[in-house]
Amino acid sequence: MFKHHAKIETNIFFMAVGILLTIVVGGLVEVIPLFSIESTIEKVDGVRPYTPLELAGRNIYIREGCYNCHSQMIRPFKDEVERYGHYSLAAESKYDHPFQWGSKRTGPDLARVGGKYTDDWQVRHLINPRDVVPGSIMPGYKHLTRPLDYADIATHLTVNRMVGVPYTDAQIASAKKDVEEQVFSDVGSSPAVLASYPKASLGKASIGLSTANPKVVTEMDALVAYLQVLGTMVDFKTVDDKLIRR
């Protein structure tokens, strides 16, 4: 085998064929498993696409670089499960493009932060974390009290649908209305947006701010709506632990 090596190295045709074969084999090994990778996603109920408001909040989360310090991935380790709750499932980020698993924790994991604090706390904490957590090194995000630009929110849903998120035509058509409905509906009421997106967090998060204009949707409202849904979609009481073991 090795003594014919000189033939390959000195003949451009054999060399090209050899390179091609190597790349094909390497490529196939990496690509083929991806065709069936979806079969490894746990089959659990409850995971739904983000509401338009949550999606806008998620875009802010990415824009502000939250993922630089916060992961969204509770690993199946004792200490993580004890602190943060049930380990994260692949199914829980199947509509995330891109996913926000992160790779570094300067702050705590946020995969199950939804419902852990009140909207009021989230807003205070985002404006100046040290107001509520004295030792925090997180920066303040006071600028998020500015109005949210959601004129093009329907386009964001459309783009997500192109990469596989099952938004319906009706959901895309009512995207802008859904943003407003989620913010301006009272907690405990049941507007149409809830029927379309169960477990969405209603109400204007930044209402407690003295500077807040109660009629304007702020970036804060969007970000808090996103944070409040994180990790809440799957009801683990209904999930058989043995069926999601990997």
Binding site: P33, P76, F77, Y87, K116, R124, V132, R245, R246
Partner: protein, 291 residues
């Protein structure tokens, strides 16, 4: 063209190529390296067979050992539970009052409660329950919005206050000003009266007293003692939940009567297990002001 020579220094053959008078030794790869290389290839194949590897059409190759990291976690948690069971089983079997009576159990619950408190409660209520001025109540004093008895505290932790849980504690003070139930002069008068009430010298016979008796006393009580069952705070002391550093008490009362702010707390019953909630209740009860 290619003349393979033996290099006199190393004793190795050259590759036979020559570039600008530079020749290259054709030294074979060290034996140990080659062995390690092939060994790791074989190891990898063995790994595929023994452990989960490739995704398939309806799942994935599980491997002959049947290993799963999530299964391992389940075992770890089971072992941990067993390790803690000597104490945890007692916590599970006792109610909070019984835990407090047993000195050793109390010590265990305080330690466990403190850890859970720091992770879950301290972000709002502060380390040691000091609270946040103008926002979240102190838990280390004997002033309680929804009751400071053990059972009250446990219930508040379980279901929260104005939370999303169906059994949540909830009450709402009417918007006396915003909804036009009281006129501005009446609100000013009742605020003046509450200020005197708070300094334990109520202005008897004032206009404010009448407004108070007709509108406020039903929840906050005639003497301003409040009513824990309704989450109506006491008004006969100097503790004001929503008072920031600069506000005067009168302005605060006027604002609150006009358009009240309401606090909220999440429900923990779906997030924490019953023993943790019991330990938390005991911990909070013993922070200084338990009733």
């Amino acid at each position: 063209m290619a003349t393979i020579e033996k290099d006199s220094v190393s004793g190795q053959n050259t590759t036979g190529h020559e570039w600008d008078g530079i020749k290259e030794l054709n030294t074979p790869l060290p034996k140990w390296w080659v062995y390690v290389f092939w060994a790791s290839v074989i190891w990898a194949i063995g790994y595929w067979v023994l452990y989960p590897s490739w995704p398939t059409q309806n799942g994935y190759l599980k491997g002959t050992l049947g290993y799963s990291s999530r299964g391992e976690l389940a075992n770890d948690l089971e072992l941990q539970k067993k390790g803690r069971s000597a104490w945890l089983s007692k916590i599970e079997a006792s109610d909070t009052a019984a835990i407090e009576k047993d000195k050793d159990l109390l010590r265990y619950a305080m330690a466990g409660g403190k850890i859970a408190f720091n992770e879950n409660c301290a972000p709002c209520h502060g380390s040691g329950g000091v609270g946040v001025v103008g926002a979240y109540p102190t838990l280390a004093d004997d002033e309680w919005l929804w009751g400071g008895a053990l059972a009250d505290i446990e219930q508040t932790i379980q279901y929260g206050v104005r939370s999303a849980h169906k059994d949540t504690r909830a009450s709402e003070m009417p918007k006396f000003g915003a909804d036009g139930l009281l006129k501005n002069e009446q609100i000013a008068a009742v605020a003046d009266y509450v200020v005197t009430l708070a300094s334990k010298a109520p202005a008897k016979g004032s206009a404010g007293e009448t407004v108070y008796a007709e509108n406020c006393a039903v929840c906050h009580a005639e003497d301003g003692a409040g009513q824990a069952a309704l989450g109506a705070p006491a008004l006969n002391n100097q503790i004001w939940l929503f008072k920031g550093g600069k506000d005067s008490v009168k302005d605060l009362v006027v604002a609150q009567v006009t358009k009240p702010k309401h606090g909220a707390m999440p429900a923990w019953v779906d997030r924490l297990d019953p023993s943790t909630i019991k330990m938390l209740a005991v911990y909070v009860h013993n922070l200084g002001g338990g009733k």
